[in-house]
């Protein structure tokens, strides 16, 4: 998860942006663009489209940062803008697919023991699983948000996120194991 120092620094950055300090907005963009692009890219298959979504995300963030009263929610706020922008751009293509039947709520205890350490393998694996699983797992692996915050971004209950995460990890593990056998 994000460290205390990073969390406080992010909050300070929001206040500096709200105060319209020189360079603060540029720093915000620089600090978050790669992570947002990674997330958007997992939602949008075309790179050009992803670039447009990222630009639009920044446009909304620049316009809205003055109204962000709680600086603590910056990561969640940015991911939510990115998601909504991607959704509205790809409405039809994305939104239809994103509606999945949520897996049953029961989560077995032994399922999460597998650890994902190889970033490149995970990156590859993410491209092989379903979009809703990919999305929840991407937010989880980006380590910026808690489960509750991921739920806020996705607009679902925390329990649903936990359940979705469990099945997404299972799906990813299956993909990676299959790849290891080849």
């Amino acid at each position: 998860m994000i460290t205390d120092r990073e969390r406080i620094y992010n909050e300070l950055l929001v206040l500096r942006c709200r105060r319209r300090e020189d360079g603060a907005m540029e720093e915000l963009v620089h600090r978050w663009e790669k992570r947002l692009f990674y997330y958007i890219r997992r939602l949008v298959s075309d790179e050009e489209d992803a670039c447009d979504v990222l630009q639009e995300t920044w446009l909304k963030a620049i316009r809205g940062i003055a109204t962000l009263r709680d600086p603590g929610i910056l990561p969640m706020w940015l991911y939510r803008i990115a998601r909504n922008t991607a959704m509205s751009r790809l409405r039809g293509r994305y939104a239809d697919k994103a509606v999945i039947e949520d897996e049953p709520g029961e989560i077995p205890d032994n399922g999460d023991s597998f650890t994902f350490e190889d970033a490149e393998q995970v990156h590859y694996g993410l491209s092989r699983i379903s979009l809703p699983h990919r999305e929840v797992l991407t937010l989880y692996f980006l380590e910026d948000l808690s489960v509750d915050e991921i739920a806020e971004v996705l607009g679902v209950a925390s329990g649903t996120v936990k359940s979705r995460l469990h099945f997404a990890k299972k799906a990813l593990r299956a993909v990676l194991e299959q790849e290891a056998v080849r």
């Binding site: 120092r5 206040l15 709200r18 963009v29 790669k34 992570r35 670039c51 446009l59 350490e117 970033a119």
Partner: protein
């Protein structure tokens, strides 16, 4: 994100292509600042000169026109300050050739305040010489409404800025403590 975490390595797996990056950077830069056309730059330059003109003329009247009532001279003094603000803001924009989106609201606050003060003082001066006293009272009352609204706007803005700065100070302290705690944690390991 400074420390190398799993997420940092994961993010590095996805790189923007050079063409896409170039376009993206250009667009984001354009979002943060609006580059002025030569005509716009000239207009800002001209506005700055007009502002400086106000500063000189009104400043001169405020200081030298001793036959005018104190209220009128005060109005001219405020008018000259207003001209100075216009001159500085417009001159800065014209000199740099770019207008930063983030700077506009701050400048706007100053401009709105200046305009309100200027109009209020101007109206008070005119009403002082108006023969119809009833109309004068109406004029004063209506301009005072705008003046009070302007004061409320400026005060709200100042409170907001002060609140942000106070919050910032607390967070800076918190950040220092978090850094110290991190260093202690590292030295223990």
């Amino acid at each position: 994100m400074t420390d190398e975490r799993f997420s940092d390595r994961l993010v590095e797996s996805e790189q923007m292509s050079p063409g896409c990056r170039e376009r993206y950077e250009r667009e984001v830069k354009a979002m943060l600042e609006t580059r002025l056309t030569p005509i716009q730059r000239f207009t800002f330059g001209f506005t700055a000169l007009v502002g400086i003109g106000f500063l000189v003329v009104f400043g001169y009247l405020a200081i030298m026109a001793s036959e005018l009532p104190a209220l009128a001279r005060g109005g001219f003094a405020l008018g000259s300050i207003f001209g100075l603000v216009w001159g500085i803001v417009a001159g800065r924009v014209a000199w740099k050739g770019v207008m930063h989106r983030r700077n506009i609201p701050n400048a706007l606050t100053g401009m709105v305040w200046g305009l309100i003060v200027f109009v209020t003082v101007g109206t008070l001066l005119v009403t002082g010489k108006h023969p119809d006293s009833v109309r004068s009272v109406y004029m004063v009352l209506s301009v005072l409404v705008y003046f009070v609204m302007g004061v409320a706007f400026v005060i709200t803005n100042r409170i907001d800025q002060t609140f942000i700065r106070t919050e910032e100070k607390f967070l800076q302290l918190e950040l220092k403590l978090a850094e110290i705690a991190e260093r202690i944690g590292e030295s223990k390991q």
